[in-house]
C-alpha cells in the first residue's frame, strides 16, 4: 500500500463517456431479436476480440451491455444482436437507420483464440448465446487455416426462434463446418433434430485431446451441457464458457457483475472452466 497521499491521475481516462455511433443496418431476426450494424465515427474499427461486449446507451434511457456478434475480421462496422427484454431494448426496437447510439467498449476478456488455434473447435450455443458465438464462428471461418475442425452445436426453443437463419444454412452447406442444430419444440414444418441442446452432444465424433470447447447460453444450460461434455470425456481444462450477463460499467468499478472474487466484465465474460469451478455463484 502506498504511503503517498497524492495520487497522479495523468494516466487516468474518461471511462464513462460514450462515442456516438450510427445504426447503419437493421435486420429483424425473430419476433424478439434484431441485428444492428453499428458504424463508429469515420468508420473506425471497434478493435474487439470474439466474445467481447460493448455498453450501449440511449440518452434518457440508460445503458446496457450487448455482445458483439460480428467477427473482428469483418471490417468497417460491427454488429450486435439484441433481444427485446427491457426498457432500453424496447426503445432500440423503435429506432431507425441513421440514428445514433452511445457506445463504450469493447470490454471483457474475449475468447482466448490462441488456445483454440491448431485445435478442433467445438462451439455449443443455446438460444441467444449464438449472438456472441457467431463472432468466434466467423473468426474461425475467416482464418480457417489456423484451426482444425469447426463443430457447431446450436439449440433454440423452437424453429421460429432460430437466429441468423441465412448463416445457419450457409454453415450447414459449408463442407468446412460440422453443423448440428436442434430445437426443443419443433413446429409441424420442422424436419430437423428435436430435443434440448444436450441431446446433440453424445452423437458427436470428437477427437478428445484435440478438442477445445466454447459454451454460451442461458444460465440454466451450463450445468447440463457440462455434464454431457464430461460424460463424453472432454477434459475440464479444454472447456471455456462465456457468462453473458450481469455487466454494467464494463470497467471493473461499479461492482454489479462481481461473482465471488471475479468481475465478469474484467475476468470474463469468457472463463476457463477450471477457474469458474472455484466461483460458487457462477453457474
Amino acid at each position: 500500500m502506498t504511503n503517498a497521499s497524492r495520487t497522479p491521475s495523468a494516466e487516468s481516462r474518461d471511462l464513462y463517456l460514450p462515442v456516438m455511433a450510427a445504426i447503419t443496418d437493421i435486420r429483424k431476426m425473430t419476433e424478439f431479436e434484431t441485428l444492428y450494424e453499428i458504424t463508429l465515427p469515420g468508420g473506425a474499427e471497434l478493435g474487439h476480440q470474439p466474445g467481447q461486449f460493448v455498453e450501449v446507451s440511449l440518452f434518457g434511457m440508460g445503458e446496457a451491455p450487448f455482445s458483439v456478434s460480428s467477427s473482428p475480421t469483418r471490417k468497417g462496422s460491427f454488429e450486435m444482436g439484441v433481444r427485446r427484454v427491457g426498457m432500453l431494448t424496447d426503445v432500440m426496437d423503435r429506432m431507425q437507420l441513421g440514428e445514433k447510439i452511445g457506445v463504450r467498449g469493447p470490454f471483457g476478456n474475449g475468447v482466448p483464440v490462441e488456445k483454440f488455434k491448431g485445435k478442433d473447435v467445438l462451439i455449443v450455443a443455446g438460444g441467444i448465446g449464438l449472438v456472441p458465438m457467431r463472432s468466434m464462428i466467423n473468426y474461425v471461418l475467416d482464418n480457417r487455416g489456423d484451426f482444425d475442425r469447426l463443430i457447431i452445436c446450436y439449440g433454440a426453443r423452437s424453429d421460429g426462434e432460430l437466429l441468423f437463419t441465412d448463416e445457419l444454412k450457409m454453415w450447414a452447406d459449408d463442407p468446412r463446418v460440422e453443423f448440428h442444430v436442434t430445437v426443443d419444440h419443433g413446429s409441424t414444418a420442422w424436419t430437423g433434430h428435436t430435443g434440448v441442446i444436450t441431446t446433440l452432444i453424445p452423437g458427436l465424433d470428437l477427437d478428445m485431446p484435440q478438442t477445445r470447447v466454447l459454451v454460451c447460453g442461458p444460465p440454466v444450460m451450463y450445468r447440463f451441457v457440462l455434464l454431457a461434455l464430461r460424460s463424453k470425456g472432454v477434459a475440464e481444462e479444454n472447456i471455456y464458457m462465456s457468462l453473458e450477463r450481469r455487466m454494467k460499467c464494463g470497467v471493473g468499478k461499479c461492482g454489479h457483475c462481481q461473482i465471488n472474487s471475479s468481475y465478469v466484465c474484467q475476468d470474463g465474460p469468457v472463463y476457463h472452466y477450471p477457474d469458474l469451478k472455484g466461483l460458487q455463484e457462477a453457474l
Partner: protein, 340 residues
Amino acid sequence: MVQYLLEDSRVVDFVSHLQACKTVYAPHRKGTSSFAFAPVDDPTAVVLDYNRTLHSVKKYFLPPTETLLSFDLRTNEFTESEIVPCDAVFLGVHSYDLRAVHKLDHNFRQENPEKNYLRRREEAAFVGVSFEPDAFHFSGSVGIGSRDSSGFDVFLTRIAAGYILTAHTPVGQELVDGFVMPEYTGDLPVPPGFKQHIYVPQDKLSEVFEHSYRNDVWLETAEKCVGCGTCNLVCPTCYCFNVEDTVEITIDGGSRARTWDGCMLRSFTEVAGGEVFREESAARQRHRVYRKFKYISDRTGEPWCVGCGRCNQACTAGISIVSIVNRLVNDYDREVVETA
C-alpha cells in the same frame, strides 16, 4: 522529526492558519450526537475530539451522486461534466479513514484508472488526528492504530495539554510553516486500547474464509438483517455505484448520474429480464463480508475493512461484522481440532 505542541487554546488559530492557505474540510457536529465532515466556515465549529463521522472523506472524491454527463435530446449530443480536484486540506481525519482512501486509490487505479475519482483526489492534503477507540472501533485488529500517522501530511496526537503536531511530508511542512509552536519534548503517553478485536491476522482470515462459505452465520444473520443497505453506504471502502439517466420535465434534455449503490440491496444484482442473481439475503451478507476480508484481500494481501465500526454502529438490527468474523474463526478452529 520535530514534534511541536499545539495547545488546546491554539487549535482555532491553527484552523484559521490552514484556512489562509487552502479550503479546509473538517468534522463538525451534526444532529444530536453525530459528526460529519463539512467545509470550515467558522474555525470554532471544528471538532477534533469525535468518535467517527457519518461518512468518511470518501464523499468528496466519490460523491454520493455525481453527474457524469448531460445530454440534449433534441440534438442527441452530450457534454461531459467538469471534474474539479479537491485542492483542499482535510483536517481531523482518523487513521482508518485515510487508509480507506488508499484502498479506494487502489480500486480506482487498477486495470482502468478512473479519471473522475483520481482527479478529485490527487490534490488533497491530509491532517490526521488520533482518536480514542469507542465500543465500535476495531481498526487495531486490521493493522491501523489510533495514532497511525502513515500517509498523512501532518498528524496530531492527542495529549492532555492539546496535540503533538508532526509534519510528515513537504506538503505538510508547507502547511505548518509560519505557524509558531513550541517544540514538544515530553513523553508520549500509552495509547488507549481498543474495546473490541478480531483476534487473528489477515493470512489466517484468508484461510478461515476459504472454509466459511457455508457457515450457518450467514443464514442466522439474514434473519436479523432487513436489507436496508446502510452497512454498505456508510462503509469508507465500499465504492459500488449505479448509473441512471434522468430526463427533465421539458423532455429536451437530462443527465446521466452515478449514485452509491450497495451489494446488500436486493436490486443490486437484478439483471435485464428481472432475474436477481444474489436473491438470498444470506448470500448478500456473505458477499459483503467476503469483499472486506477475502475477495480483494486475496489479491492485495490486506483486509479491505479498516475497522472504523460504522457498519456496526449504524445497523438498526445490531449486526456486527466483528462478531461475524470471530464466529467464523471460532467455528473454523473448532472444526480443525475436531478433524485433527
